[in-house]
Symmetry: C2
Subunit: 426 residues, 2 copies
């Protein structure tokens, strides 16, 4: 048996024990994890490991170092995620439907874990605690592989999680760290054993994982998000929302890439442009926008489909709300779309008609996030429509089974001209 | 614009109108469809079209002709499916979660249709009415392509559906029939426009669709289902269940392929073997089974992974319930697994531990079906764990969107050391 097959086998077994344990054990493990993450001794150990990573990372660019660096506030956020999840009702065994098909023939649809997850993520070590917490609450085993530059931090954090599992009487092997890229590639090449592969990171990295994997992948995909300024938009709100959506984390998939405005929204546009410029955002406008703001660079066709991941924003005028809907339908990536409008009816039409995972009114696109949504973190953000959509928390890590309890019934007894089904919801 | 792109475009627009129409319109269309399917004049027209297909099908094998042939009972079953769905609450706009993130910042998770479905199915024309009914209730537009040999029947049935849509004031283009295989191939080659492709038919056909499609496919995949005879099994029940599971429709994916038994279940095994033999089922046993029933053919390793689709059944002895669980984990296709047992504790353990879409106690595997489950039919049966699992009815044709209604909030206001989120479920 290859090393990776043996690891997957251990994960399957540990996952089974984790899922069959009483809900209280999973809650206890989450509480133990939250406590450990703010324990001074544990914190010191994790931060020391992180310091070793930082020391080795002298060649890295500043934003990467910022993502790599752990501190007390980040540990507190991780602990808070684990606490949030500990206080949530355990979902395993939840009955989604119960139906009497006939006397003594009862159907149940019950929630259960997917089984084994594999999560491959880049740089940020805090993702490890977040993902492990979500796996614990959903009863899934998880194989984790973080960025090489965070190796020491990840090992220290994984150890904290494994100790928390053991304190709750659960198998430590429910959370395992994969050693290197070769092991990940071997894993992705397996035909079965992992129920969901989650890829978090840059576009190229996610594409690499998606292309190699023979098992289902949840790709934390491209985000080409828009903010549309309706003619009723409040200029001050517009400027705040557009700036927050662009500059708080330009590399995030929920950052805005294109600002749309309609005639009548000039004051909101002007306020947004001034605010963006004052924080150093490069603006690229279409002809109509440049007629008003001639100092902008001219946008090309490629700009409307581009995820800049940087302090660049394209700006386009649309004819009206319909024009905004059409632009978003054509160029959006079904991630997060926002309207700024005081006109409630216009906002509600936008909320009803935009086909995207997240649709916002008068709020920053950056709220599209599992922690902010109150999901206790996220394993990723899905832009497909199947299974999970938007920030994926516990719910996206669950599936269900149909259980039928009979007393000897056979299908040939039922049907037209024979016994009818009762189909009575219980 | 190519013909197929134009059709998809019409489907997207019709789907939008269908989804935004009041629930009552979709209910009215379903009722109109149910009424039409049992209207003498409509029935006569559909059966005449079916007679033309049958006349052209002189070369087909008997089971195919049986699937192709429509009669009053089949039309009544289709009408009953539409009626079942008309009486179900409309799911669109259902609020799955509502959470106050902060004052004036409220998150909602609401159900919505996937958008446009493409369903490619073989032979059985009654599938058309079933699928169209599910699409209607879920607010999805659907592009349909049935088997060539059922072309006349499919055209007649599609016309009935389209008339029902128009009677309810809904766009007929929400249900469109694709003309030929070339159009299907062109459709599968598109990069977007269809949200879910459903493939129903033989293994090769499903593989063809899966390999060609660039859009997500729900593959009605292989079913290697088992019935396990526990030592507490009632012999008469066992024989009934095993025979029904095998012979009522051997080509169905929910038919049983392997019978497992443990020491102590000899009486149930003997009763099952005798009943199966009396209806002409070929049996292939492992050494332990053949020691008791030497007249059986010897099973080879390949038998344990085979979906026969025919009146053939393999039989294996396992050491005990654990042995049965291990055999199923190794050879099952996570479709439908059943135990026959009077011992409640053994049955509950089986229900809890088998990882499959459907797990049954003392009931035929053939109950794994959307119509029998009370889902108003099915577009297919999924054996994956993501999105839908088991028989896929209305729920599997829905997704959701996250709507956030704010009043100017931005993400930088919140977080450790700043404003906390309320995360209050409403």
């Amino acid at each position: 048996m290859s090393a990776v097959v043996e690891r997957v086998q251990r994960a399957i077994e540990a996952g089974g024990r984790l899922a069959r344990a009483p809900a209280e054990s999973r809650t206890r493990a989450l509480k133990a994890l939250a406590t450990a993450l703010v324990d001074p001794e544990v914190c010191a150990r994790v931060l020391e490991a992180n310091a070793r990573d930082l020391a080795a990372a002298s060649g890295l660019a500043t934003p990467l170092v910022k993502r790599l660096k752990l501190d007390a506030a980040k540990l507190e956020t991780m602990a808070d995620g684990a606490r949030q999840l500990a206080s949530r009702a355990d979902p395993l065994g939840d009955v989604l439907a119960r139906r009497k098909l006939d006397e003594g023939l009862v159907l149940e649809q019950i929630r259960c874990p997917l089984g084994v997850l594999a999560v491959v993520f880049e740089s940020r070590p805090d993702a490890l605690a977040q993902i492990a917490s979500l796996a614990l609450r959903s009863g899934n085993a998880v194989l984790l592989k973080g960025g090489r530059e965070a190796a020491e931090s990840n090992h220290a954090l994984a150890e904290v999680v494994r100790v928390a599992l053991e304190r709750a009487g659960l198998p430590a092997d429910a959370v395992q760290l994969l050693d290197d890229r070769a092991e990940v590639d071997a894993l992705l090449g397996l035909e079965k054993g992992v129920d969901l592969v989650v890829a978090r990171g840059g576009k190229e990295f996610v594409e690499h994982v998606r292309a190699r994997s023979r098992m289902p992948v949840l790709a934390h995909a491209e985000g080409v998000c828009h903010v549309f300024l309706h003619r009723s938009a409040d200029p001050a709100k517009a400027a705040r929302i557009v700036v927050d959506s662009k500059v708080t984390y330009p590399a995030a998939c929920n950052a805005v890439e294109t600002l749309l405005w309609e005639p009548g929204a000039e004051a909101a546009l002007d306020a947004s442009v001034a605010a963006l410029r004052s924080v150093g955002v490069e603006l690229r406008g279409d002809a109509a926008t440049r007629a008003r703001h001639p100092e902008m660079t001219a946008a090309t066709d490629a700009d409307w489909d581009c995820e800049y991941g940087a302090l660049i924003l394209s700006v386009a005028r649309v004819a009206d709300l319909d024009g905004a809907l059409a632009h978003i339908a054509r160029h959006g990536s079904q991630h997060t779309e926002a309207i700024v409008a005081e006109d409630r009816a216009a906002a509600e039409r936008f909320l009803a008609e935009v086909d995207a995972a997240c649709v916002f009114h008068d709020a920053s696109t950056r709220f599209a996030d599992g922690y902010r949504f109150g999901l206790g973190g996220e394993v990723g953000i899905g832009t497909g429509k199947l299974h999970a959509r938007g920030p994926v928390g516990v719910d996206g890590l669950l599936t269900f089974r149909w259980l039928l309890r009979g007393s000897g019934q056979v299908s040939a007894e039922y049907g037209p001209g024979q016994k009818p089904f009762l189909h009575e919801d219980l």
